[in-house]
């Protein structure tokens, strides 16, 4: 079994969820989740709070009983397998470190209960502390650690027994942004190097996109989308997912038989035959256009009045409105490197090839 693992010879296991449901009393917290995680793959699970993300992890860990469905790891059905025999690693947002043990005691815990010999264990602990950048800090008391250090200890502790599946529950949620970004990169590198299968739960889609090979979106206990980050970003599929991922430009456009797309009377351009939006038309179509598909360009076909400008790390995030008489329906957001100010008129070029239709549904509203 992977959890009893022996150092580097890990068995990266694949995870399978089939129609997994979890119930708290009358409430269905997870509702028929189907999800496969390939060996070595990192899947990020995102969703608003209360969508069932953490419950999904707990169900996989055996910390919550299944109402129905099946969880398997490495092809082995986990029904009836208690938590401690599942060969998992779990890292919490509030890390749940053992306050009565020092750093070394925490990291070596899983090895100790797994019966690894002392010498072997010490070496493995040192190796992990190196891995997470805490070399030589084994004798520190855990309540004297900084937030970042505590997270690294929690990570090292989870990785030490070489779990078949690593589960990360908001692993970086309590950290400040810079640290979070730094650790995200590190985590990404680490998981890749180790070929670690991982299930990563977060409410922060940015973190999920940065870490995961694929991202799954949960809403009210249901899985509403699973895809590679870039694909999911480019084609969220539903307004709920699009909004959750942070897409600003969600419009209801008119598409005519010629492929001409207009927004509240303003002509945006024309899409080619075979374009998904055209297939959804003709008529009113809900669409999303990524902010990055909009450029400020003197030759642009439409013009927007700038309402607000936010300077963000070298770029301006602009929200404005297209000309017309229904401002709220025609707001548009885009990024630009050129300086703009409120009230400016910007000519915009819209890459309508990246316009995608949205299906109804997938919202978290009951």
């Amino acid at each position: 079994m992977a959890g009893d693992g022996h150092g580097a010879e890990r068995t990266a296991a694949g995870l399978g969820l089939e129609a997994v449901s979890v119930r708290y009393g009358e409430t269905l917290v997870l509702d028929g989740i189907d999800l496969d995680v390939a060996p070595g793959e990192v899947v990020g699970v995102v969703g608003p709070s209360g969508s069932g993300k953490s419950t999904l992890l707990r169900a996989v860990a055996g910390l919550e009983p299944l109402a129905s469905g099946r969880v398997s790891l490495g092809g082995r059905d986990l029904a009836g397998v208690p938590t401690h025999r599942r060969g998992l690693g779990l890292m919490f947002q509030d890390h749940g470190l053992f306050t009565h043990l020092d750093v070394e005691g925490n990291v070596g815990y899983g090895l100790r209960v797994g019966g690894r010999p002392d010498l072997d264990r010490a070496a493995r602990v040192a190796e992990l502390l190196d891995l997470v950048g805490l070399t030589g800090m084994g004798e520190r008391a855990v309540d004297r650690l900084s937030g970042g250090e505590a997270q690294r200890v929690a990570l090292a502790r989870a990785l030490a027994p070489a779990p078949g599946l690593l589960m990360l529950d908001e692993p970086l949620g309590s950290l400040d942004r810079a640290l979070r970004e730094e650790l995200t990169v590190e985590l990404r590198r680490l998981l890749g190097e180790l070929g670690q299968t991982a299930l990563h739960v977060t409410h922060d889609q940015g973190e999920a996109f940065a870490l995961a090979d694929r991202v799954a979106v949960l809403s009210a206990g249901r899985l509403v989308a699973v895809d590679r980050p870039a694909d999911l970003w480019a084609d969220p599929g539903t307004a709920f997912v699009a909004r959750f991922l942070g897409h600003p430009n969600l419009w209801t456009v008119e598409v005519d038989g010629e492929g001409v797309v207009s927004l509240a009377g303003t002509r945006l351009g024309r899409v080619a035959a075979g374009h998904p939006v055209r297939r959804a038309g003709p008529g009113a179509v809900d669409v999303v256009l990524p902010a990055t598909a909009i450029d400020v360009d003197a030759a642009g076909a439409v013009e927007a009045v700038v309402d607000e400008v936010l300077f963000d790390r070298g770029r301006y995030r602009v929200s404005g409105s297209l000309e017309g008489d229904e401002p709220s329906a025609r707001s548009v957001e885009f990024d630009t490197v050129t300086g703009v100010a409120t009230g400016d008129r910007c000519p915009l070029r819209l890459d309508l090839d990246r316009l995608r239709p949205l299906r109804p549904g997938g919202t978290s509203t009951p």
Binding site: Y24, H84, F92, D94, L101, Y109, G110, R157
Partner: protein, 546 residues
């Protein structure tokens, strides 16, 4: 959430193995059998005997008497007032002992437990004499009763609450203060809230002690003040109207059970996970110095005063001072079946036995109680009965009920009875500690491959060890100071303990006897303080470790 998470983690999760279930069953069986045999069955037996041929009419008759109702009312409110005062005075002491790092802290902690084992009559006599000598009258009054209850029970609040307090995370209070709470408001909103489970437990224990207090009421309260406890004694012993005594005893049991259930519910609702502990604060700056000085002063006056008087009187030999009374403790005098020192030896053996039994049973009970479920809730309430039920009732229950293996005639019954009385202290200390273990830590351990039993061993145990030491120390102290059960269940020489020797010495006229009784009381106090200090010392393996 409709489901007890703790139970799930403790192993009730799907797939808890047969071995785990067997271990849990065993953990539940130990306290169930223990309390069943030594509490429930004797009570059933004595009620069966007492109500022999008596109808329910007698019950209504007794309860209908206005004198009984006024006795009941007095019993309850004096106990509530005593417990409230004890908590109010004990809290600042618990706080300083738990939070401040200062020289003499261990000595102060040890001193606090001394009154707990001093015989009422000795303290009353010594303090009364001291009052008389400086020309102050020492009145038998309600005030004297309350003062005595605070004096004797302060240790319960200070140590049970203090032990838990030391493990609290101070950052929450700090966070509240940053958010704009004044320190006092933060204390009310955060600290008191965090302490409430253990505070309610300590309140209940002191309440029960005062509820069934016998010596203090009789000696200091004057004969006009009757409580349910003294009335039971009166009806059972002097009047031998066992049926009336039994009705009163049943009343006690009902009250204890109601309180126990209410407290347990409160504790479950207010249990908080402890994420990390804060190291003790150094005493720097005038504010902390003043604070510390005030609290130490309080302890020295409330506890040190009577102790100093006791020591002074024990050193009096005729018109001079000397160690004669202490020197005499090693020799057997004809009044006693053993020398006082040998009796103290018996006390220590019983204390060790009682502490071990109470700890083992208490730990098993605490695991069952925190695991949730009906058995745990039942245990939690039943374990408190020995404190809240009159000694006469339980003592008679043993005589009537424990005829199997002739247990009532075995000297083992004495340490077992001590363990029964010590058990609530172990639970009061261990259950809140166990409840406050961060469930995340347990879950993390489980995912790392720790079986439920390994989780208990490697996560729960290290975090509750300290609380268990507090509880075991208390059980030992209870045993060393115990008089009623030892006297009632004693088997002569083999169970002749120090408190029995003190009473025997005081039951004959003669100056040297009084002196030796006082000297022996001082020695008992010192022994208990040393035992407590030793446990303290073992309990502090490092600065940062809980």
């Amino acid at each position: 959430m409709g489901r007890d998470r703790a139970a799930l983690i403790a192993g009730a999760a799907p797939g808890g193995s047969v071995g785990d279930r067997a271990a849990r069953g065993l953990a539940a069986a130990v306290p169930v059998l223990f309390l069943g045999a030594l509490v429930v069955w004797p009570l059933v037996a004595v009620f069966d005997r007492s109500f022999d041929g008596v109808g329910l009419g007698a019950v209504g008759d007794v309860l209908g008497r206005s004198s009984v109702r006024s006795v009941l009312w007095f019993t309850v409110w004096q106990a509530a007032l005593s417990a409230g005062l004890t908590v109010v005075i004990g809290l600042p002491i618990a706080h300083v002992l738990a939070r401040y790092q200062f020289r003499g802290r261990a000595a102060l902690r040890a001193l606090v437990i001394v009154p707990f084992v001093l015989p009422t009559v000795v303290v009353a006599a010594a303090v009364g004499a001291a009052f008389d000598r400086v020309g102050l009258g020492f009145d038998r009054s309600l005030g004297a009763v309350l003062a005595a209850h605070v004096f004797f029970n302060l240790a319960v609040v200070v140590r049970v609450v203090g032990g838990f307090w030391a493990g609290l995370d101070r950052r929450q209070v700090e966070a509240a203060m940053i958010l704009g709470d004044s320190p006092s408001r933060a204390w009310w909103t955060i600290t008191l809230r965090q302490l409430s489970p253990v505070l309610s437990g300590a309140f209940l224990l002191t309440f029960l002690f005062s509820f069934t207090s016998f010596g203090v009421i009789r000696v200091l309260g004057g004969l006009r003040r009757a409580t349910v406890e003294t009335e039971i004694h009166r009806y059972a012993i002097a009047r031998q109207q066992f049926d009336v005594a039994a009705v009163l005893a049943a009343l006690q049991i009902v009250i204890v059970l109601v309180l126990a259930v209410a407290t347990a519910r409160f504790q479950r609702r207010h249990a908080l996970a402890r994420r990390r502990s804060s190291p003790p604060l150094p005493v720097v700056g005038p504010v902390r110095r003043l604070h510390l000085a005030a609290v130490v002063g309080l302890v020295l006056v409330v506890i040190g005063g009577p102790v100093v008087v006791l020591v002074e009187q024990s050193l009096r030999v005729g018109d001079r001072y000397g160690l004669d009374n202490y020197a005499a403790l090693g020799e057997r005098i004809d009044l006693l079946p053993l020398s006082a020192v040998a009796a103290l030896g018996n006390s220590l053996v019983f204390a060790a036995g009682a502490a071990v039994v109470a700890s083992l049973v208490g730990l098993a009970a605490a695991v069952t109680i925190t695991g949730g479920g009906r058995v745990g809730r039942l245990l939690e309430a039943v374990a408190l009965l020995p404190l809240g039920v009159s000694a006469v009732t339980l003592g008679f229950g043993y005589l009537v009920g424990l005829t199997v293996f002739d247990l009532r005639r075995s000297v083992l019954l004495v340490p077992l009875a001590h363990a029964v009385i010590g058990l609530p202290f172990v639970l009061a200390s261990v259950v809140p500690a166990l409840r406050s273990v961060d469930p995340r830590a347990r879950e993390a351990a489980a995912t790392l491959g720790a079986s439920p039993s390994a989780v208990r061993r490697t996560v729960d145990w290290p975090l509750t060890r300290r609380a268990l030491a507090t509880g075991a120390g208390f059980a030992a102290a209870v045993s060393i100071g115990e008089f009623g059960a030892t006297s009632f269940l004693g088997r002569g020489e083999a169970s002749f303990t120090a408190p029995l020797a003190i009473f025997r010495l005081l039951s004959n006229p003669g100056e040297t006897l009084r002196g030796q009784a006082l000297a022996l009381s001082v020695v008992v106090g010192v022994v208990v303080a040393v035992v407590a200090a030793a446990m303290e010392w073992r309990r502090q393996p490092g600065v940062t470790v809980l």
